[in-house]
C-alpha cells in the first residue's frame, strides 16, 4: 500500500521533472545563450539561525541582479550544512547555473568548499569570516574580513580617547572571532594601551555573569568584545549594568536591527567598525542606499550590502567570461578580477579575497541609534 503510493508519487514526480527539463530545453533552445551558464545560483538563509540576516542578504542580492541584469536562482539552505549541500546540488543540477553565491556561517562555508572544488563550480561567499576560507578559482570571497577594519579603528580610538589599558573578550572556539580579537589586541597594544589579557568565552555560552566579573576585576580603560552579536550585546549590557564606564569597542554584529531594537538604550556609547552603514561617507554607498530604498522602501543594512556586493561580483565574473562560458571559465574570470567599485569603497582582490581600506567608525548614541563617529574633537 505504502510502497504502491510511493512508487506512484515517484513516477509522477519523475514525469514532472522530465516535462520541466524538456520544456526548459525547448524554451532555451531559441535563445542565443543556449549553452551559457549565465544564471547565478544563490543559497538563501531565510530560515535557520541566520534568518535575521537572510532576508537582507537576499534583498541586496536581488537588487544587484536587477541592476546588473542577471538571473538569480534561489534555493533555501537555512545555513544548515546538510540542507545547504542539498541546495547546492539542486542549483548546480539546473541548466545554466554557472556559480553559486552562499554562506553566512563559517561552518556552512567550510562544508560547501570541498563540494565547489570537486564539482568545479565557483562559490562566491557573501558572509562567512573564518580566516583562509578563500581558495581560488573555485572559492572566492568578496566579503571583507572584519579585522581589516578592527586594527585601524581600535588604534584610532586608543589614540584619540587617551586610553592606557585594554582588556579583550573573545569566543575562543570560533577562528574568525579569535582573529578579530587578536587584531584588536595587537593594534591597541601597538598604539600604546597596556594589554590586560583576554577573557575567553564560547560561542554557545549564554551566561556571562562569570566573564563580566572577570572583566570588571581588571579595571581597564577599554574593553573590546569580539564574540557573536548576541553575546557581545549581552556582555556590553551587563558591563554597563554593573557600573562599567570605560570605552567599549564591540563586534559590529551588535548593531543588527533586531539587536538594536531589543537592547535599545542599554547599548549606548558602544563603538564598532563596519564597512557599510546607511550613514557611510562613501559616495558609492549613498548610491546603493538610494537604489535600495527605492526598490524596497526601507533602509539597507550591512547584510544587504554584502548580498549586493557578492552578486555584483558574481555578475561581473559572468560578464567577463562572456556568453556561452561554462562554470570553469567563470571561475577563472572571477579569480582574475583585481578591482571593483563597491559601497564599501574601492575593493581590491588578492587570492579571491576582497579588501577595503574605507572602514567606518560608528558610535551608538544615548537613544540606542548608531551614528557615524567623526573623532574625539568633533
Amino acid at each position: 500500500m505504502v510502497s504502491k503510493l510511493a512508487r506512484r508519487t515517484a513516477a509522477l514526480t519523475m514525469a514532472a521533472a522530465l516535462a520541466t527539463t524538456s520544456l526548459a530545453a525547448c524554451s532555451s533552445a531559441g535563445g542565443s545563450d543556449s549553452n551559457g551558464a549565465t544564471k547565478i545560483g544563490l543559497i538563501a538563509a531565510e530560515q535557520g539561525p541566520f534568518a535575521f540576516a537572510g532576508a537582507s542578504y537576499l534583498k541586496g542580492a536581488e537588487l544587484a541582479a536587477e541592476l546588473e541584469d542577471v538571473e538569480l536562482v534561489v534555493e533555501e539552505g537555512s545555513e544548515d550544512p546538510a540542507k545547504s549541500i542539498t541546495a547546492f546540488n539542486k542549483l548546480t543540477g539546473q541548466e545554466g547555473v554557472g556559480q553559486v553565491v552562499c554562506c553566512v556561517s563559517s561552518a556552512v562555508a567550510g562544508a560547501m568548499k570541498p563540494l565547489a572544488t570537486s564539482k568545479k563550480v565557483p562559490l562566491v561567499v557573501y558572509g562567512a569570516t573564518t580566516p583562509d576560507l578563500e581558495d581560488p578559482p573555485f572559492v572566492l570571497r568578496p566579503a571583507l574580513l572584519p579585522q581589516q577594519g578592527i586594527a585601524p579603528v581600535s588604534a584610532r580610538l586608543v589614540k584619540e580617547l587617551g586610553i592606557t589599558s585594554a582588556v579583550h573578550v573573545t569566543a575562543s572556539d570560533n577562528d574568525g572571532l579569535v582573529a578579530q580579537s587578536e587584531a584588536a589586541r595587537t593594534s591597541t597594544e601597538a598604539a600604546g594601551a597596556k594589554d590586560l589579557g583576554t577573557v575567553k568565552t564560547l560561542v554557545a555560552d549564554t551566561d556571562f555573569s562569570g566573564a563580566v566579573t572577570e572583566i570588571l576585576s581588571k579595571d581597564a580603560d577599554m574593553v573590546t568584545v569580539y564574540t557573536l552579536g548576541e553575546a557581545a550585546a549581552t556582555i556590553t549590557k551587563a558591563l554597563r549594568e554593573k557600573g562599567y564606564d570605560g570605552v567599549i569597542l564591540a563586534n559590529n554584529a551588535v548593531a543588527t536591527a533586531p539587536l538594536l531594537k531589543s537592547f535599545g538604550k542599554t547599548l549606548a556609547d558602544t563603538y564598532y567598525s563596519v564597512e557599510y552603514t546607511p550613514a557611510s561617507s562613501i559616495p558609492a554607498a549613498a548610491e546603493f542606499t538610494k537604489a535600495y530604498e527605492e526598490k524596497y522602501d526601507e533602509k539597507p543594512d550591512l547584510f544587504a550590502s554584502q548580498g549586493y556586493v557578492a552578486v555584483k561580483y558574481a555578475a561581473q565574473g559572468a560578464s567577463e567570461a562572456g556568453d556561452g562560458a561554462d562554470a570553469a571559465k567563470i571561475a577563472d574570470a572571477l579569480a582574475g578580477i583585481a578591482e571593483m567599485d563597491s559601497p564599501w569603497g574601492p575593493l581590491t582582490f588578492e587570492d579571491g579575497q576582497g579588501t577595503s581600506e574605507d572602514f567606518q567608525v560608528v558610535q551608538i548614541d544615548d537613544a540606542g541609534v548608531p551614528q557615524l563617529w567623526t573623532g574625539a574633537g568633533a
Binding site: 534568518a51 562569570g210 572577570e214 551587563a238 549594568e241 537592547f263
Partner: protein, 298 residues
C-alpha cells in the same frame, strides 16, 4: 578572594535556574515515569509567552511571569494527556513514552522556531528587572536575585507539598503504584494532571528566569536547560527535590569556577563528566535512596 566570592555568587544564581528546571523535570520523571525530551520546550514556551506579553502586549513583567508559568503548566497537562496518558494506560514502559516525547519535542521546537522566525530577542529592558545592588560587598544583579528567589520558593514549596500535604502524598503514591493509589481513594487522573501541571509550570518559571538572566530568548532556550536540568536531577538523587536543588546549584558553581580558573571550554565537560560519573558510580545521586530507583515506571 573578592573575585572568588563574586564568582560563587554568580554560580549560585546560574545554578538556581538549572535547579528550578531540574525540579520540574525530575517531578515528571519520578512521579509520571516519563523521561521527557520535550521538557525543555515547556521552558521555552514559558519564556516566549512572557516575551510576547511584555514586548507586544505591554503587560508588566510580573503579571506576564505568572501567565507564562500558567501557560507552561497547561501545556504540560495537554502534552501528558495526548502523548503520555495513552501509553500509561497500556502499561507501557519508559521507552514508548520517551519516543512520543521526542515527537512532542520536534513539534513544539518547530512551532517555537516558526513563531519566533528563529530570531533571538529579549524582554524589553524598560519592563524587565535590571541593574544591580551591593550585597555583602558583592554585586548582585536584580535578575540574579529573581532566580535565587525562584529556587527558594520552588524548592521549599514543592518539598513541603510532596511531604506535608495530602495532595503530595497522593502524587508520590501515583508515582509508586497507580493501582495502589486508586485503591486508597485517590483519583489518579486528577493527581496525574496536577503533577504534570506543576512539572510544566516549574519548567516555565525556569525558562522565564533563564531568559531574564541571559538577555536571550529564542526557540532553543530550553534545550540547554534540558541537558543541565537532567544532570541536576541525576547528580542530586533522583526523585528528591532537595537533592535536585543542591545538584543544580553545584553544577552552576562548578561551571562558573571552571570557566574562571580553568578554561571556559571545559564548562560542559565538568557538568557532563559529573553526570556520567554519578550515573555509573553512584546512580542514587547525592540524596536519593535505593528505593526511589523502583519508582521509574509508567
Amino acid at each position: 578572594m573578592d573575585v572568588l566570592a563574586q564568582q560563587i555568587l554568580n554560580g549560585l544564581a546560574l545554578g538556581s535556574v538549572y535547579a528550578v528546571f531540574g525540579v520540574g523535570f525530575g517531578l515528571m520523571l519520578a512521579t509520571l515515569g516519563v523521561l521527557n525530551a520535550a521538557h525543555g520546550t515547556f521552558a521555552t514556551w514559558g519564556a516566549l509567552t512572557v516575551l510576547y506579553l511584555v514586548n507586544d502586549v505591554g503587560l508588566g513583567f510580573w503579571p506576564a511571569l505568572v501567565l507564562g508559568v500558567l501557560v507552561s503548566g497547561v501545556m504540560a497537562v495537554i502534552v501528558d494527556f495526548v502523548a503520555f496518558q495513552p501509553i500509561r494506560r497500556r502499561g507501557g514502559d519508559l521507552l514508548p513514552a520517551l519516543i512520543t516525547s521526542i515527537g512532542v519535542w520536534i513539534f513544539l521546537l518547530a512551532a517555537a522556531r516558526m513563531v519566533t522566525g528563529a530570531t533571538t530577542s529579549r524582554y524589553s529592558p524598560d519592563a524587565a528587572p535590571s541593574g544591580s545592588f551591593d550585597f555583602l560587598g558583592l554585586t548582585l544583579g536584580r535578575t540574579q536575585l529573581v532566580s535565587l528567589l525562584a529556587v527558594a520558593v520552588v524548592g521549599v514549596g514543592l518539598h513541603t507539598l510532596l511531604h506535608r500535604t495530602r495532595v503530595g502524598a497522593a502524587m508520590r503514591a501515583v508515582g509508586h503504584s497507580p493501582m495502589a493509589a486508586s485503591l486508597g481513594g485517590v483519583n489518579p487522573v486528577l493527581v496525574v494532571a496536577v503533577t504534570a501541571f506543576l512539572s510544566g509550570a516549574v519548567a516555565g518559571l525556569a525558562g522565564i528566569t533563564m531568559g531574564l538572566n541571559t538577555s536571550t530568548v529564542n526557540f532553543m532556550l530550553g534545550e540547554a536547560l534540558l541537558l543541565k536540568g537532567f544532570a541536576a536531577v541525576i547528580i542530586g538523587g533522583f526523585g528528591d527535590v532537595r537533592g535536585t536543588v543542591v545538584g543544580g546549584l553545584l553544577i552552576g558553581v562548578a561551571e562558573v569556577l571552571t570557566a574562571q580558573y580553568v578554561s571556559g571550554s571545559l564548562r560542559d565537560a565538568v557538568t557532563f563528566g559529573l553526570l556520567l560519573a554519578f550515573l555509573v558510580f553512584r546512580p542514587r545521586g547525592l540524596f536519593g535512596s535505593a528505593a526511589s530507583m523502583q519508582t521509574v515506571r509508567a
